[in-house]
Amino acid sequence: MSILIDRNTRVIVQGITGREGQFHASQMLAYGTQVVGGVTPGKGGQQVLGVPVFDTVKQAVDATGANCSIIFVPAAYAAEAVLEAADNGIELIVCITEGIPVQDMIEAVQFVRQKGVRLIGPNCPGLISAGQALVGILPGRIFTPGPVGLVSRSGTLTYEVVNELTSRGIGQSTCVGIGGDPIIGTRFIDVLRMFEEDPQTKVVVMIGEIGGSDEEEAAEYIKQMKTPVVSFISGRTAPPGKRMGHAGAIISGGRGTAQSKVAALEAAGVPVAETISDIVDKVAQRLGRA
């Protein structure tokens, strides 16, 4: 088991003829993901990496039976790509693109929700179900199947954790990068709910950061979870009012501080690790492998 994606997920790549899209499509194919087609307006009829390219998502879905789409479309057009996927029967949309205007995303996220479609991202590394499928830009080679589910607002930081988990012989179920933007399709609480239902996932690692209140909201939910959660919050030393790389990583009006998040998590009985090694130690403990 795993959440969101597995061996049977049929993926199309929106923006497959671009540099990023093509490179990561090849990485996904190499990982064993069923990449069944791509979409680039005006390039329909071509073949890229052995899969057909279509002008529209509709054509791609009709021809390939895809149920998942990953988006590498430039920021100015990415929200529209999300709308197109949601409007044409795609069930899971993964939007990698960074820098999408907030108002575009508000519309897209609301539309996607109305359609009952799941959107991961934007401004995220996507997700991977270890040993099964990669729909994203995560470095597949560091992952190994196992009992740890990860959900994170930060890509590289997660790789650090996964790398250490794997090197200590602890595998992963699914790792979901939910993205660093203020407006995202899937939040911690959504993924935690899925991990709670997943028999493979025995421990969850949640990696948060400053900005917003998703971690606080998640803390409330975790109180009633059966699966143990280990957390980490980055940005404890970040100054207020400054965007720390991610558009969503900002303390504004005194809200969204690391301290507030740590306090909420600890109040919910969730251990908050101080360092990356500490995260892995705490996971090992909960798996009885300390």
């Binding site: 205007p101 203020p182 720390m244 005194g254 360092t275």
Partner: protein, 377 residues
């Protein structure tokens, strides 16, 4: 990016929202001339991208043109919480009967634009929410439906805005929402929205925040971007396309991934040091980007040591190493540079850096410790 009062009011006026007659002056003479034009009592207001200018004495009334000259003379050059006042807005003074708060902003938790209306204007919205929570009406908008008349009636009823003001309030609210969308704003605020003695509603002060991600399609606003009171190193980094934030420590930091870099800052503090900056080179950075990053960090006189922390996923460690080498060869590096490279092409990267003056580190912890020590010595 934030727009200051005079910029926001120009946008309000263009959209047809009533604002007081007035103009910006950069000298006392100009202020006098504007006051002369307006006639009667005027208010002279410091134009700075930060709150609290009232308390700092940056807002003054003047009875006549000479008074305006004197007040402008006093305010121009004044320091308001770290910002030097270079412009004042000279406006017709208003006789205020009642003050309202009106704002539309992005609520990231609800993933929607939220309209906020209160009959207790004039204070910060946080202050209003704290002192008069019952007077703050909020309504989250459906993007497809937009802001409708019934929303406006709902907000007014909840905020306790008198019914007779609805006829004036409704078009102003619709225009505020139009401005939010047409300018890719994440905040449009009128505070106070004042009812004058004669019953008219006028936007006496305004604020806007523009989504930086949308500046590519907001040409007019993008042109104002350079005006912001950012640190010169931040401006330079932006020109080079880098996500850089100036901080007040002495350990320069470069890493890939926002979370990784934030954690690096946190680790530096855990080890008793303080970072001089945040700098994320992003995913898949080429040697060129690394070179740019290091050059910016090294140009900061506060920097006493540099920590390069890279986890190679898409980013290749050899590319990073190459960028570092390029800098070492082209300029004299006077501070110690600690480098931790892990992941994709880690071996190749390390090999490239062998024999250089760079200090290698194997772990996150070791890197932070070494960089802090180096800065202190």
């Amino acid at each position: 990016m934030k727009l200051i009062e005079s910029q926001a009011k120009a946008i309000f006026a263009e959209a047809g929202i009533p604002v007081p007659t007035g103009r910006v002056a950069t000298t006392p003479e100009e202020a006098r001339a504007i006051a002369q034009e307006i006639g009667g009592r005027v208010v002279v207001k410091a134009q700075v991208p930060i709150g609290g200018r009232g308390k700092a004495g940056g807002i003054q009334l003047a009875d006549d043109p000479d008074g305006a000259f004197q007040q402008a003379q006093r305010i121009l050059g004044m320091d308001v919480r770290g910002y030097k006042v270079e412009r004042v807005l000279v406006e017709q003074a208003a006789e205020i009967a009642q003050e309202f708060y009106l704002g539309i902003t992005v609520d990231r938790d609800r993933q929607a634009n939220v309209v906020i209306l209160s009959a207790a204007g004039g204070m910060d919205i946080e202050e209003i929410a704290e002192k008069h929570p019952e007077k703050v009406a909020k309504l989250w908008l459906n993007a497809g439906l937009g802001l409708r008349d019934f929303h406006i009636r709902q907000l007014a009823a909840q905020a306790g805005v008198p019914a007779e003001l609805l006829k004036q309030l409704a078009p102003i609210m619709r225009k505020v929402y139009d401005i939010l969308l047409s300018h890719d704003a994440t905040l449009v605020e009128i505070n106070p929205l004042a009812r004058l003695g004669d019953g008219r509603l006028v936007a006496l002060d305004g604020k806007m925040e523009i989504d930086d991600n949308a500046l590519f399609r907001q040409q007019k606003l993008a042109a104002l971007k350079e005006d912001e009171g950012d640190h010169p190193l931040e401006l330079e980094a932006r020109r080079r396309g880098l996500a850089y934030v100036k901080l007040d420590g002495n350990v320069g930091v470069i890493g890939n991934g926002a979370g990784l870099v934030m954690t690096t800052l946190d680790m530096i503090q855990r080890n008793g040091g303080k970072a001089a900056n945040f700098l994320d080179i992003g995913g898949g950075a080429k040697a060129e980007v690394v070179r740019n990053a290091l050059e910016v960090v090294l140009s900061d006189p506060d920097v006493k040591s540099v920590l390069i922390n890279v986890f190679g996923g898409i980013t290749r460690c050899d590319e990073v190493a190459q960028g570092l080498l390029d800098v070492m060869r082209s300029m004299e590096v006077k501070v110690p540079v600690v480098v931790r490279l892990v992941g994709t092409r880690e071996e190749e990267g390390r090999r490239l850096l062998e024999g250089t003056e760079l200090t290698p580190a194997a772990t996150f912890q070791e890197a932070a410790r070494k960089a802090v020590l180096a800065a202190q010595s």
